[in-house]
Amino acid sequence: MFSFQKIETQKLLAIHGWSGVTLGLLLYAIVLTGAIAVFADEIGEWSAGRNAEHHSAFEYRIAPIIRHLATKTDPKYYEEVALNTNATGDLIAFFHTHVKNENNTLEDYGVWFKVNPATGEVREQHEGTGDEVFAQDGESALSRFLVDMHVQLCLPDPWGLLLTGILGVAMMVAAVSGFIMHKHLFRDIFTLRKHRSPLLAKRDIHTVAGSWGLPFAFILALTGSFFSFAGSVGLSMMAMVAFGGDREKLIERLRGVPPAENDTPAQMTNMDALIADASTRTGIAPDFVGITHYGRADANLTTVHPSTDGSIQRWSFEYSLAEGTFLQEKPRIGKTPSLGSAVLDFVGPLHFGNFAGLLSKAVWFALGFSMCYVVLSGLNLWLTRRAENPSWRFLGRFAVVIGNGLPLAIVGSCFGYFLSLLYGQPARWTPIGFVSIAVLIVLGGSLVKDVQRLKWSLQLFTMFGLVILPLLRHLTGGPGWEQALQTGNVMIPALDVVLLMGGAFVLHTLHKQGALPQLIPFISQPALRGVK
């Protein structure tokens, strides 16, 4: 593809290999959890047993609910109200102000309500920082945990974000170096020499999968590391240069200059009418509504809507809540449309794959899985070439434990979540489920001597876990398929079927490799032959 001398090609190969080897397993964890997190909303609906008739809390009359909640809230938290729908279709309302934490950075602090939007019944109420109160929403615990794993590997701020940012850069380095070191890229992406040596065949499959997925890997790595770096240190650095270190001013500029302050108390107009107007403009209900300065003459309401009609752009409208008037179609950032805002409109959908509904999500999910394969197969190629060197054998075992153990530990987090629905505190038990299984996997990984047997055992347990999950979901109070379909929730049977198919696929893989007779003593070879 590019003309390099032998020495540059060797350097590129070394960069490609080392970037994969040093950070490959962490990268695998990020990509796998990312592929799953593409369906975070659907997983939330599935795990919480959401009644699809409650599609969005904003399809109900929420104005009386907000008025009632305001009477229960200290007016100091009227500065901002964030409204959204959770996994069960409940309305989440967070009345909050901003306070400085011990790191001297601003943090949301206020009162959080979970309300049934149909009846107005307050199901839960908590006071604390944004992170603390949103963690109380047990029904969203599983999807939140999976997203948190992907975003910051469950590490504290800002270290998790920094690490995922560095991993994104490593993924870009591996992708770009893999791309430019090909002398014949267009020939390589169609070359599969299955009948030559096994190593060559493996290399070809890695090259073909990696090359076809390269644009996707590059886009994901770029957008992902942007989110990670910007969220951890980037914004503070830019605030230092552009606003003399005042991060609040920077956020204000990005959100659009607020209207002139007017703290005169005022009656709020009917926000339901404003939300209905915004929904008519886009043809879809908002998934987020924000209110500033509730109860004052300068109160504003902003709606944010999912993209529609194949558009990649999310829609946002701003209204005066005090006067009940439409103010403007709001750009993603800033007060007026700009290049930066236009570019950002693409960044989110390209990373989350949510620009064309379930179809784009399915494509992103499949490409994510193929990237997992590329990362693991690349690592295996590296290790196969060094199989004679004992010092690399440890990494080989480690790759088997992580590569096959991570899906099992994720299944463990689902078990933790569903079992905790019986006893309470899902937000606590979901990560405990993950960690408990991960500890058992590491113990098994250090005790089982035969690496092949270890790999097959982990896959067998994953298969059992995938098959049992739908049953466990139902036994712990989740709706059955008939009930789910009656209420219009297709996602529950759909995800159950996906899990069962996943289990069947793992079983088929084990069967094909002849692993079952070795793992399960009562399955003998003659019996298998009989089945065939």
């Binding site: 590129l12 960069i15 994104g168 850069v169 830019m238 500029r253 990005l254 800033g334 930066g340």
Partner: protein
């Protein structure tokens, strides 16, 4: 063949110096990049370009055949943005 010393210099410039360079360019862009109509372009676009900057500078530092040229380019970029930022902070520091 590159000597051991040359290799060390190259990896220092490809590693920490590349990273620092990318950070300084990103911060420097907040000063010299056009702000745009909403006055946000000079904040958002450098942030978005930062990962690309790290990768590009890293690969350049590794692949340039002439070590002295690579060191010169890297130091020039570093010095340019250090001066831009120092001047900017001197101005805003002095009101």
């Amino acid at each position: 063949m590159a000597s051991r010393k040359q290799k060390i210099v190259r990896w220092i410039f490809a590693g920490p110096v590349s990273f620092v360079n990318a950070i300084l360019i990103m911060m420097g862009m907040a000063v010299w990049f056009p702000k745009g109509t909403a006055e946000v372009d000079n904040i958002v676009l450098p942030l978005l370009l930062f990962p690309l900057l790290v990768v590009s500078i890293f690969l350049y530092a590794v692949l340039d055949r002439k070590l002295s040229r690579m060191v010169g380019v890297m130091l020039a970029l570093l010095a340019l943005h250090a001066v831009i930022l120092a001047r900017h902070f001197a101005v805003i520091g002095g009101g």
